[in-house]
Symmetry: C2
Subunit: 247 residues, 2 copies
């Protein structure tokens, strides 16, 4: 774990994660993906880099939307095997690579995209600096991460429930303590890095970006019909999504 954490190649984690992603309705499909996609620019003729591309679904989407070249990188060989099987295209290149090592990529991109991967990265500043370097003039950086109110969590119960099991409030602790968090998600010892909201905004700024839009997506009425417990997301959002332009 740590710098080059590759939990997605753990057999138990891989299968557990696959189970969630294969559900017809899940948080990614209903909340995170529509929100991050709403921030995408016109992709016709664009060069796109997808950091932590996983199964390559977004890479295929970029091609559909007219991108002329997509590079998807992921540290997990098992994820990339699925990507190459299910989302192969002559203009998509998949690379087995840690986000810590993108400083040796060559070429420039118009869009660098990352969905729910950056909270695994310890050195946020180095990564954003590398991303800025890889972007062409007028390039965009659009990414999602677990919301800081979610990553703040260390241990203990996350929620306080009433007698019916309904979540009545989120148990927020240690929000101002940035740093490593070890959580259990399918397996023990999954390492994430908590950063406060101000730390995120200031780092994006300092690394040469101008923030254009910040989203904390909410469930829609339709989502709540599909997954009624999503009404509880009004207490605490799950995702933070940022669109930033290269200054």
């Amino acid at each position: 774990m740590g710098k080059n954490q590759n939990v997605y190649d753990n057999e138990i984690f891989f299968e557990g994660y696959k189970g969630i992603r294969e559900q017809e309705n899940n948080y990614n499909k209903l909340q995170e993906q529509p929100a991050i996609k709403s921030l995408l620019p016109d992709l016709k003729g664009k060069r796109v880099l997808d950091l932590g591309c996983g199964y390559g679904e977004s890479c295929s989407y970029f091609i559909e939307k007219g991108a002329k070249k997509v590079v998807g990188i992921d540290i997990s060989r098992k994820m990339l095997e699925v990507a190459r099987e299910e989302n192969s295209h002559e203009n998509i290149e998949y690379l087995e690579k840690s986000m810590d090592d993108i400083d040796n990529l060559t070429g420039k991109f118009d869009l660098i995209y990352s969905s729910l991967a950056l909270h695994y990265m310890e050195d946020f500043k180095k990564l954003l600096t590398d991303i800025n370097t890889l972007l062409d003039t007028d390039g965009l950086f659009i990414y999602s991460q677990e919301h800081p109110l979610t990553t703040a969590h260390e241990k203990g119960q996350r929620w306080t429930r009433d007698e019916s099991g309904m979540r009545i409030h989120y148990n927020l602790a240690n929000y101002m303590k940035s740093g490593k968090r070890e959580v259990t998600w399918f397996i023990d010892g999954v390492v994430k890095y908590h950063r406060t909201f101000s730390e995120i905004i200031n780092t994006v700024n300092e690394c040469g970006f101008q923030i254009e839009k910040v989203l904390e997506p909410l469930p829609s009425k339709e989502d709540i019909k599909l997954i009624p417990k999503m009404v509880q997301d009004f207490h605490k959002p799950n995702f933070l999504i940022i669109r930033a332009g290269r200054r």
Copy 2:
């Protein structure tokens, strides 16, 4: 209450608030003021507008730091009486005025400053638009407000405590529900407006500003020596402070 809420002219509120502000050590003096002052530019020869100037302490400070003209506005006649008595200066002008009505001010400012007042304002977008209009080229807007995690609160207990009375977590609810909050602070029915982090950042952006720095101040080691319970602020910050330049 509401649009032109003037709770500070309520006798009970005024005396209660005065009691807090007169304490040698309080959250304003130890956390909010050092943090917001750390964001100030060189003030020599500058024109400053202070929104919700209260006792006028910051107006005096700006003059000390070389400002050539300071306008302090406040909706509370009682607060301004104190300001005129304790922080009078030939280059400070105090105006009894709601922040809703700054669109009829004339002249331009190099700095518009506001300490812990904007969470009382319902129409954030109009206010920021007016502030942008009143700023000269290269003008700065620097303000503090109650942190969104604080304003989210509606009713019930804010904190869960252990047997010794120590705060173990903040009871976060309704964070994603923007809007009016009625709280009890010396008197019942004090009206504040909760806005999410993304709503704040996006509104500042949309109103023609570029965010330069965001602070969520923490107590220092010295603060914790003076007020030991401040160690609990690591669970949830009290203030949000933003420095933004006119685009």
